[in-house]
Amino acid sequence: MRLVIALLALIAAPLAAQNAMPAAPYAYTQLDDPALEAQATELMETLRCLKCQSQSINDSDAPMAGDMRHQVRARLLAGESPEQIRSWLITRYGDYVSYQPEMSATTWPLFAIPLVLVALVGLALLGRLRRRADAGDAGDMGDAA
C-alpha cells in the first residue's frame, strides 16, 4: 500500500512542479481600486482559459489562466480600457479567446441570419394575412348575395 501511494505521488510530481513557481503578482491579488477590480472581473469572466477551454480565466486555477489575469489587472492599472485588453488578446489568439462574440468577417452571418429569417417569416405572414383578408371579403360578399 505504501508503495502504491509512493508511486502515485511520483506520477503527480510534474503537477506539483508546475505550481512550484510563485504565481504572477496579480494572478490571485485583487486591485486596490474596487471600481478597477470590478472592471477586471467583468472582463476576466468573458475571456476564455486556453488550457481549460470550457472555463473563463476568472474561474480557472490553471497557472496560465493566472498569468492571463495578471495581464488583465496590470494593463487596467496601467490605464488601458477593458476593450483594448480584449482586442490585444484577440490579436494574439483570435476570436477564440473571447466569450463575447464580435462582429467580424467570419462571424457576421451569426448576427445576420436571425434577422433575415425573422424578415422572411414576417413577409410570409403578411402575405398570408392579406390573402385571408381578401378571401374573407370575397366570402362576405358571397354570403350577402
Partner: protein
C-alpha cells in the same frame, strides 16, 4: 408539388440531427493557433533561466540566419520526448533559442543535464508574458523566426522525428 414542400422542415431537422451526431463523434480540436504568424516578434527581454547561459532579448533573434524559438519547461513531459529531436535540429546547424516557462533554475539545470542542451540561450518566462505576447497557448511550442525577427511558423506540441524535416523546410523557406 405542395405536398413535397411539407417535407422541407423534416429534411432540415434530419440534416441538423445528422450533423450533430457526426460532429459529436469528431475528435475535439484542442489547439489554439497563434494569430501572430507573419507578425514581427514583440519587444521583450527575459532574464537567464540558469546561471552560465545568457537570457533572451528580441535583438537576439534578429540578423544572421532564421532561428527556432522553443517554448518549453522542465515540468513538461512532452518536452522530454522532443529533446532528442531538438538535438537533431541543432546538429544540422539550426540555432535554437529556449524559453523556460514558470521554471526554477535548479529544475532547468537538472533537465538539461538529463536530456541534453540544444539551446544557445534560455530566457526565463516566469509569468508567461512572452507566451501570451506571441499567442502561445501551451508547452511545448516551437516557432520559426526569420532573420528580420518576424514570426513565420508555429508548431504546436512536441517536435517529433517527422517534425524535424518539416521545420528544416520552413527554416529554408524563410531564409
Amino acid at each position: 408539388m405542395m405536398r413535397a414542400l411539407y417535407l422541407v422542415p423534416l429534411a432540415l431537422f434530419l440534416f441538423f440531427a445528422g450533423l450533430a451526431a457526426f460532429m459529436l463523434n469528431q475528435p475535439k480540436q484542442q489547439d489554439v493557433p497563434s494569430q501572430m504568424i507573419a507578425q514581427p516578434l514583440p519587444e521583450f527581454s527575459l532574464q537567464p533561466a540558469i546561471a552560465g547561459m545568457p537570457g533572451v532579448r528580441r535583438a537576439d533573434l534578429v540578423g544572421g540566419q532564421p532561428r527556432l524559438l522553443n517554448i518549453w519547461a522542465s515540468w513538461c513531459l512532452p518536452c522530454i520526448a522532443e529533446a532528442p529531436h531538438l538535438e537533431a535540429l541543432q546538429s544540422q546547424g539550426v540555432e535554437i533559442i529556449g524559453i523556460a516557462v514558470r521554471d526554477r533554475p535548479e529544475a532547468v539545470a537538472d533537465f538539461l543535464g538529463r536530456y541534453g542542451n540544444p539551446y544557445t540561450r534560455i530566457g526565463a518566462d516566469d509569468i508567461s508574458s512572452l507566451m501570451i505576447e506571441i499567442g502561445a497557448s501551451g508547452v511545448p511550442e516551437t516557432y520559426v523566426i526569420d532573420a528580420e525577427g518576424n514570426i513565420r511558423y508555429q508548431h504546436i506540441g512536441d517536435v517529433r522525428a517527422d517534425t524535424v524535416p518539416l521545420l528544416l523546410e520552413k527554416l529554408e523557406e524563410v531564409r
